[in-house]
């Protein structure tokens, strides 16, 4: 596991500025799905366009990291870079100025944002919780299949999932409380 796997975004940014390759790898790993999701789900771009935007956004992050004023604001900065690049791509295709597309993708972006927050909170849960939630909600496995594969009693699966969801909620609420507090 990377030394930066549990590092905060600010620590990651400092590592990247110091030329630490492991920090850069972790930043790409942490935000690659995010950038891709904004392009594909938020702006409905093709996979080919999303790939171009992905390359371009990470090149910009690499070359402009020094211009980031607040190290802990990495995510909104990446979101802004990606959004701007997506709008440029759409404007070029439609042959209109980027400014005319200001509201494009704004609703779906909040979904992407929420999904990313859930994914981040998930990684903070125990491996067992991550596994059981992934099996039930992402892989659509039945209680019986989960019980058989994890070798635990079938009758306990629903309550285990409920407890793990409770922990996930605590993580998310804690995160939201913290961000509310930081705005004050």
């Amino acid at each position: 596991m990377s030394r930066f796997a549990s590092a905060s975004d600010a620590e990651l940014v400092r590592g990247c500025r110091g030329g630490d390759q492991e920090a850069w790898n972790e930043l790409v790993e942490r935000y690659s799905r995010y950038v891709y999701a904004i392009a594909v789900r938020g702006f409905r771009l093709t996979e080919e366009d999303a790939e171009d935007i992905f390359q371009d956004v990470f090149t910009r992050i690499y070359t402009r990291l020094d211009s980031l004023r607040d190290d802990s604001a990495l995510r909104p900065w990446i979101a802004q870079l990606t959004r701007r690049r997506c709008l440029d791509a759409i404007a070029a295709r439609r042959d209109v100025p980027t400014d005319e597309l200001a509201d494009e993708g704004s609703t779906d972006l909040s979904d992407v944002e929420e999904a990313f927050e859930v994914r981040e909170a998930l990684t903070a849960l125990s491996g067992n919780c991550q596994d059981i939630l992934d099996r039930f909600f992402a892989r659509d496995q039945s209680y019986k299949t989960i019980a058989a594969e994890l070798e635990i009693p079938s009758g306990t699966i629903a309550s285990r999932i409920a407890r793990c969801l409770g922990r996930l909620r605590e993580r998310l609420e804690g995160r939201n409380d913290a961000s509310e507090g930081s705005r004050e």
Partner: protein, 197 residues
């Protein structure tokens, strides 16, 4: 009727469509929707249990199961339509072409896959209903028991369709799985009925 989305139909229209002399929705879709009703009932019991710390987690699971069941209602309707068309074509052709026989067999296999999943969802719903009945607000225990009974009914209907669609022998693993789901759902429903009397 033009819409193929059952959730977009008023309940009366859906029931009319179910009883119409046509194709889908049929027994598989009705079984899936019964499981969906049961799952939403479990969500209601959990929502009415404010003292239950895990209630939100149960609601999330019940909603996920309910959504999957509705999806399966559509899938079942679609594949059953295709199987029925293939069956009618085969009867009309009156030929012994083995390729047509194989194609029909494939369609019927596909038509059995959805009920197999519906039976499994029925078992899961019954189990979730048991948790809600045991730990949720006592006032709503009867609703939890009703949910388990509905889920068991859906599982039974679906298991029956697996048997008929496949025309399988009793040792076929798919039928074994469907019957195990049916039994599990019925055991839970019976226990809830007894313990909440």
């Amino acid at each position: 009727m033009t819409t193929d989305d059952y959730l977009e139909l008023p309940l009366g229209d859906l029931l009319d469509r179910l009883s119409a002399n046509g194709l889908a929705p049929g027994g598989g879709s009705a079984a899936a929707l019964t499981v969906a009703f049961a799952a939403r009932l479990v969500a209601m019991v959990a929502r009415c249990s404010p003292a239950w710390g895990d209630a939100a987690g149960v609601i999330a699971q019940a909603n996920a199961i309910g959504d999957r069941a509705v999806e399966l209602a559509h899938t079942d309707g679609r594949v059953w339509d295709e199987a029925l068309t293939a069956l009618r074509d085969a009867e009309a052709a009156e030929s012994d072409d083995p390729r047509k026989g194989f194609a029909l067999e494939q369609k019927l296999e596909a038509a059995a896959a959805a009920p197999l999943e519906i039976a499994s969802l029925g078992a899961d719903t019954a189990q979730l209903a048991a948790l809600a009945g045991d730990v949720g607000e006592p006032t709503y225990r009867a609703d939890a028991a009703a949910a388990a009974a509905l889920a068991a009914g859906g599982a039974s209907a679906a298991a029956h369709l697996v048997r008929v669609n496949l025309g399988v022998r009793s040792a076929d693993p798919r039928l074994v799985r469907a019957l195990a789901s049916e039994t599990a759902a019925h055991d839970v429903a019976a226990r809830l009925r007894e313990s909440h009397r």
